[in-house]
């Protein structure tokens, strides 16, 4: 493997593996809460951090981490308080973050839109040694949270109201989810880029769902898909000289399509086996029409 002889490729591959693990690991909770596009929003906000990093001559990765954590906490607060105008506030946050990033980087003496492009769409050759240190630390945090608190995060993401009655600190866990998602965005931005990071949070989870019936299996398969496509995409990018972020995302979508094609006949066979196992069916299931529909629009 001559590709491992280059220090920059070693760094890029290490970063890619960490992205492949962390993005689906937090993404699964976002998908479970039906906030699949939250990562995209944080990615927009993180651009202001990158711009500020250039402007202040500070590490863009750490600056983006700080700014996207602030942005994610704001998004969570808007979700609590801004019921009716919430989406407008979110839109302003996203596009304000993006405009801020472009503005700051142009004001910076060393910055140009070329620098920005490498953060937007990812770039292998520019992953520096200090970037790798930052990515390792941040990825460790994400893994600790998503695995260590998996039962708590599962309960809160599945049913917030019920989680409150089990005594879980629901608001703190919601904030922690948002912060972890923000950290993941900055882990991923050097390799996949800010505009494509959300894909790696969502698509591996969607692909894994085609094969699994349990949350634990979905988690494991999604991470396996994530690592496979990030390594595959990085290697392809090196040999074919194509942008890594776009390659990784297209590979992920390819995996989704392949698994869906594979799983559909499998699910059909499973359903047929189940029907054969219960020849008479369950008569009570058909005899009583749902009295008030299943949407539960009753009471207040």
């Amino acid at each position: 493997m001559e590709i491992l002889n280059y220090a920059f490729m070693q760094r890029a591959l290490l970063a890619a593996v960490l992205v492949g693990i962390t993005a689906p690991a937090i993404g699964i909770y976002l998908v479970q809460r039906r906030q699949a596009l939250m990562g995209d929003g944080i990615g927009h906000v993180a651009m202001t951090g990158v711009g500020l990093g250039f402007l202040l001559s500070w590490s863009p990765v750490w600056m983006a981490t700080i700014v996207s954590i602030v942005g994610a906490v704001l998004m969570e607060l808007i979700r609590w308080y801004g019921r009716t105008r919430g989406d407008i506030a979110l839109a302003m946050l996203f596009y304000g973050g993006m405009a801020g990033g472009v503005m700051f980087i142009n004001l910076a003496p060393t910055g140009s839109n070329a620098n920005l492009t490498s953060y937007l769409f990812g770039s292998l050759s520019t992953v520096s040694e200090s970037d790798v240190t930052a990515i390792c630390l941040l990825a460790a945090f994400v893994v600790l949270v998503t695995l260590g608190l998996r039962r708590q995060l599962f309960a809160v993401s599945q049913d917030e109201e019920f989680a409150r009655v089990t005594g879980l600190p629901v608001r703190a866990l919601n904030l922690l989810t948002a912060v972890t998602a923000a950290v993941t965005v900055t882990v991923a931005m050097r390799v996949v880029g800010l505009l494509l990071v959300s894909a790696l949070m969502v698509v591996p989870v969607a692909a894994a769902q085609q094969l699994s019936r349990s949350f634990a299996a979905t988690f494991a398969i999604a991470v396996a898909i994530g690592v496979t496509v990030t390594i595959g995409g990085t290697v392809t990018s090196y040999y074919q000289d194509v942008p890594p972020g776009a390659t990784i995302v297209l590979l992920t979508i390819g995996a989704f399509i392949a698994l869906t094609a594979l799983a559909t006949p499998l699910a059909r066979r499973r359903a047929r086996a189940l029907a054969a196992a219960q020849p008479s069916g369950d008569p009570a299931e058909c005899a009583i029409p749902a009295s008030r529909g299943t949407d539960g629009k009753v009471g207040v």
């Binding site: 309960a155 109201e161 019936r213 949350f215 009570a284 009295s291 009471g299 207040v300």
Partner: protein, 255 residues
Amino acid sequence: MSEPVISLRGVHAELGSRPVLRGIDLTVHRGEVVALLGANGSGKSTAVRSIIGQVPAAAGEIELFGTARARFRDWARVGYVPQRTTAAGGVPATITEVVSSGRLSRTRFGVLRKADHAAVRRALELVGMADRAKDSVNALSGGQHQRVLIARALASEPELLIMDEPMAGVDLASQEVLARTLREQVAAGATVLLVLHELGPLEPLIDRAVVLRDGCVLHDGPPPKAVGQHALPGHDHVHPHAAHDAEPIRTGLLS
């Protein structure tokens, strides 16, 4: 009467700026089975959700097991079955995974031990879903889903069960299972607060009914007796209702 398990005094609550509860008094004593009845919009779900802290009370006092709700921490003593709105999350999960969430209140740092897994299995057996433990909740019927949610509430072996419309959209077989499960819990000494649209098959279990209308308590006493054809022997109240004629207050008796 023994000590109150739930106590509400003069509770007001608003949704948006609309007052939904306008000074509710409600006490549930240990071992009692109380049904909270009322028409759509009468505030019965809001009352329950203010007890568990999902809806903030604008005024009044709420106590659980004699402790002010804001300071109450012993949530393992409470089992809650929310009104079924979303069938499942955005990611598949097995029945065991969902029911295990209900055990978290008995664990430290969310680590399930052997005894916790056994409690989850017992809860699944109580609602007759143990053979489906590894199936995805996404594949369940409405009634089976409700049984899973009740197992989740029972997983912490609670003393108090709060259920919001447990019979809504539930098939006959599951209704029987739910009624039997509840009977066993009551026999074992559980206290139960139920939000119901109509008394239905749970009628024989209920000690007391509290009827709400427009956010006020209209009736607090013995459950209203069924009248007309509802009172005929063998009539078990499982007929489907359209939303518009769902009016459980039999006003002839209560006004």
